[in-house]
């Protein structure tokens, strides 16, 4: 199981466990690939955010690094015109439905979206697409944290830890298409749900959707 294979990412030779997904292989070796939904502990990659595209030699199209297992001799490039274009569009689509207003966000400076923008020189501003954000009330019923659905990027990390780590089952995805969102059963506020306020979900939120209140006060 722990057989090692040698792969090349961006001209760097790396020795990684066979079958390790490229995303983790790269991140463990200090090579950044944008990602939101990728979650190492999760058994099956969600592959929903569509940000971690890389080029793999022999593949006709860019592939998502979170789903692609490392194979001996694989040659990977984290950047190419095609990859950059896909990442740019995916990023713009995500921020078209994410309430930006970074200055007033508790995650300002520690936000995965800001990190991606910086790494890939993308603007945190909509230029070609339309603003799709709907104003939704912030659920600040829990003592120590609050949930702002208009900043949620639907990566599903919170849902995963809620189900698999905290094993509470307070939140999940509801509805579909453009109406898909993370919510409690019956869309009640968190304190009226079975939420135990353990805060596990807040720790994994890559953006400013789930934030600790003390962070906001800073």
């Amino acid at each position: 199981m722990s057989r090692k294979v040698t792969i090349t990412i961006d001209d760097r030779q790396l020795t990684v466990p066979e079958g390790e997904k490229l995303l983790w292989a790269a991140l463990d070796n200090g090579l950044y690939i944008p990602h939101l939904c990728g979650f190492r502990e999760s058994e099956r990659p969600a592959a929903g955010c569509r940000l971690c595209f890389v080029e793999v030699e022999g593949h006709p199209n860019p592939v998502t690094a979170c789903t692609e297992p490392a194979v001996e001799g694989m040659v990977v490039m984290t950047r190419s015109p095609r990859v950059d274009r896909l990442v740019r569009t995916a990023f713009e689509l995500i921020i078209s439905n994410h309430r930006l207003d970074c200055a007033n966000c508790a995650k300002n400076g520690d936000c995965e979206l800001q990190r991606i923008a910086k790494a890939r020189k993308l603007k945190l501003k909509l230029t070609r697409l339309r603003q799709l954000v709907k104003e939704t009330p912030v659920d600040d019923s829990p003592q120590s944290f609050s949930y702002d659905a208009s900043r949620c990027v639907l990566c599903g990390r919170c849902v995963w830890v809620d189900h698999n780590k905290a094993k509470v089952g307070a939140i999940g995805f509801i509805r579909r298409g453009i109406s898909r969102k993370v919510s409690t059963f019956g869309e009640v506020c968190l304190t009226d749900s079975r939420c135990t306020q353990c805060g596990e979900c807040v720790k994994v939120c890559p953006v400013g959707a789930l934030t600790f209140k003390e962070a906001a006060d800073k």
Binding site: R44, L51, A90, S96, R128, F173, R176, G177
Partner: protein
């Protein structure tokens, strides 16, 4: 021949002989077949059925009345077939209660076959032409639709008497590898839309080790305007079941599922009946036909989400999760339902299986084109005369399909485009009509075989609006999991909606093209990967219509409500007629002092009523685009 193969054959022969005997008894007497599939019912077939029953009961005639499925001639529903010894079986179209009563008195009691109501005879004769004498019959070649509408879907003996389940008996005597080799050799490609070679999928599933495997029949037909699978399930359910049992036998599965959408209640009822009858005959369940192979099928009702036609979403749905696709690989044939190797095939694909096993790969390859052998089943809909379900050899041109099989465009209008392949397909113009219908040619043209929906569009259809309609459909049906499909199609839909409302901006076309390309490459599943096709093909072939909307605020097809106004031409209007005034629901049409009529634009809701009313009278109501000012009002 081994002992077990002999037992299978003996058991099968016994079933078949019994069926033939019963079948023969039925066919000795006069009989009436009434097409009561969903399409027939929508046109009033149940009323026709009641009339036949009452009339025949009242007159105490010795006539069998049998409910059958759909013969594919939607334009002529409800359809009835009457057989009386001494006459060829005759098919009657557009039957209503009145005609039904006449047929009983004139044909079944007297000897007048009412040729004035007849469409065609089913057997060659000296009295009346057969379907084969019409262009539709000339170009059609029915394989999986051959028995639809002719056999009783609720009576397994009808299917057995036509040689049904013979392929299963044959397959049970073969090695699984031999069955798979036959399917591979036949080059059967999945009829669900993508056209993946079925044999390779079977082989992968067969070669994946595991004590438990599943087979699933994907009957989650969801394309707007497509009804092929429904008709097959309602008209000949045993054909699908036989295909599914053979597939299970070939890959070594012990449990099968029929994933049927709950919106097909009649199909589900008929499938339940079919399953019970197959079990009673030993064609399903423990040791099928006395062989060592055991297999059973369960019906799973899908809740009608379009995305559940995608195989990973379908599996999630059966497992009790939300119907949301997951990344492939692993492919279901390796790790599918509950992590077990799972074979998923479309209704039509499975329907071909008994025929291929029975008649061989060479027979199948003799039909169609080298890379897409066999036939293609289409649901022909839209502005075409002969709507319905048709089956033509692959390689037939779109022109033949529309003008010969479909008998051309309705109401003498001009053909504009054909939308093929549903929301994943594209719109092809006049210049593409000579493209041959097969998986590869259509993909090259930017459309897609899809599952077989064909919508014919004429001069009155705005291509931007058509693209918007299909995009709205996929946007509503997107599961919302991946960024490109959830947000990308929404962005595209918003742009298209703006264009149809006259708010298009320069650069919109380029932005649509850019987004479309990225959504195609970047989406997680087939729904997103093909969602931009209607937009891409309409921009490719009808760019001038987009430009007219954006640059001139004009809808060339006079369809987009925000870009047209209604007027009455003073030259054509008659002082003596006020039909349009009465037809207007909002009192926008008024009588001028000179007694001619005119329309208050600020009141007009553009409902089309006045235009429709006046068309046959004076044809004085006209639409103008870009919107024009009211005459006489400054």
């Amino acid at each position: 021949m081994s002992d077990s193969a002999l037992v299978v054959e003996q058991n099968y022969e016994q079933l078949k002989n019994l069926a033939l005997q019963k079948h023969g008894e039925i066919k000795e007497k006069p009989y009436v077949l009434v097409g009561t599939a969903t399409c027939g019912r929508a046109a009033g077939a149940l009323g026709v059925l009641d009339t036949f029953r009452n009339e025949i009961d009242n007159r105490q005639l010795d006539v069998n009345i049998i409910e059958v499925g759909c013969m594919g001639h939607c334009y002529a529903e409800p359809m009835v077939i009457i057989y009386k010894p001494g006459f060829p079986p005759l098919c009657y179209g557009s039957v209503d209660e009145g005609k039904a009563a006449r047929l009983v008195t004139d044909f079944l009691i007297e000897d007048d076959p009412c040729f004035e109501f007849a469409m065609a005879a089913l057997e060659p004769n000296d009295l009346f032409p057969t379907f084969g004498d019409y262009p539709r019959g000339v170009y059609e070649q029915k394989v999986i639709l051959a028995d639809c509408g002719l056999i009783d879907p609720e009576n397994i003996d009808d299917y057995l008497a036509c040689g049904g389940y013979g392929a299963l008996a044959k397959a049970l005597a073969m090695k699984p590898e031999e069955v798979i080799a036959e399917i591979k050799d036949a080059q059967l490609r999945g009829r669900g839309g993508a056209g993946f070679p079925t044999g390779i999928k079977w082989e992968t599933c067969h070669d994946t080790p595991g004590p438990l495997k599943y087979v699933i029949c994907n009957a989650d037909e969801g394309d707007p305007g497509a009804f092929m699978d429904r008709a097959l399930l309602e008209s000949n359910p045993h054909q699908v079941l036989e295909g599914l049992v053979i597939s299970a036998c070939a890959v070594g599965a012990s449990q099968g599922y029929l994933y049927v959408r709950a919106e097909y209640p009649l199909a589900i009822t008929r499938l339940h009946t079919a399953l019970e009858q197959a079990r009673a005959k030993g064609l399903l369940g423990e040791s099928i036909l006395g062989s060592s192979f055991s297999f059973d099928i369960e019906i799973f009702k899908g809740s009608g989400a379009f995305v559940c036609g995608e195989e990973t979403a379908l599996i999630a749905s059966i497992e009790g999760h939300a119907g949301i696709p997951t990344h492939r690989p692993p492919f279901p044939a390796v790790s599918g339902l509950r992590g077990k190797p799972t074979l998923i095939d479309n209704v039509k694909t499975l329907s071909y299986i008994p025929h291929i096993v029975q008649k061989g790969a060479d027979w199948f390859k003799s039909i169609g084109t080298p890379n897409s052998p066999g036939t293609a089943v289409f649901a022909l809909a839209g502005k075409v005369v002969g709507t319905g379900l048709v089956e033509v050899p692959m390689g037939t041109t779109l022109r033949t399909l529309i003008y010969d099989v479909g008998d051309g465009i309705k109401d003498g209008k001009t053909f504009k485009a054909v939308q093929i392949g549903g929301p994943s397909g594209g719109c092809l113009p006049e210049s593409a009509l000579d493209i041959s219908i097969d998986f590869d040619s259509l993909r090259e043209a930017g459309a897609m075989m899809g599952s077989g929906g064909i919508v014919v569009l004429n001069e009155d259809d705005c291509m931007v609006e058509v693209a918007r309609f299909f995009l709205e459909f996929v946007q509503n049906e997107s599961c919302g999991k991946c960024t490109f499909c959830r947000l990308g199609t929404k962005q595209m839909l918003d742009i298209l909606t703006d264009i149809t409302k006259g708010h298009g901006r320069p650069g919109d076309i380029e932005l649509l093209l850019d987004l479309a390309e990225d959504i195609k490459t970047g989406s997680l599943c087939g729904l997103g990967k093909t969602a931009p096709n209607p937009v891409l093909t309409t921009i490719n072939f009808f760019r001038h219509e987009y430009e007219a909307h954006i640059n001139e605020g004009r809808c060339p097809a006079l369809m987009c409500k925000d870009l047209i106004t209604f007027h009455i031409s003073a030259e054509k209007c008659s002082k003596l007629c006020d039909a349009c005034v009465g037809s207007c629901p909002v009192e926008a049409v008024y009588t001028r002092p000179d007694m001619l009529k005119a329309i208050h634009l600020d009141k007009c809701v553009k409902c089309d009523n006045c235009l429709t009313t006046c068309r046959t009278l004076y044809d004085a109501v006209i639409k103008k685009s870009p919107p024009a000012a009211e005459e006489g009002v400054s």
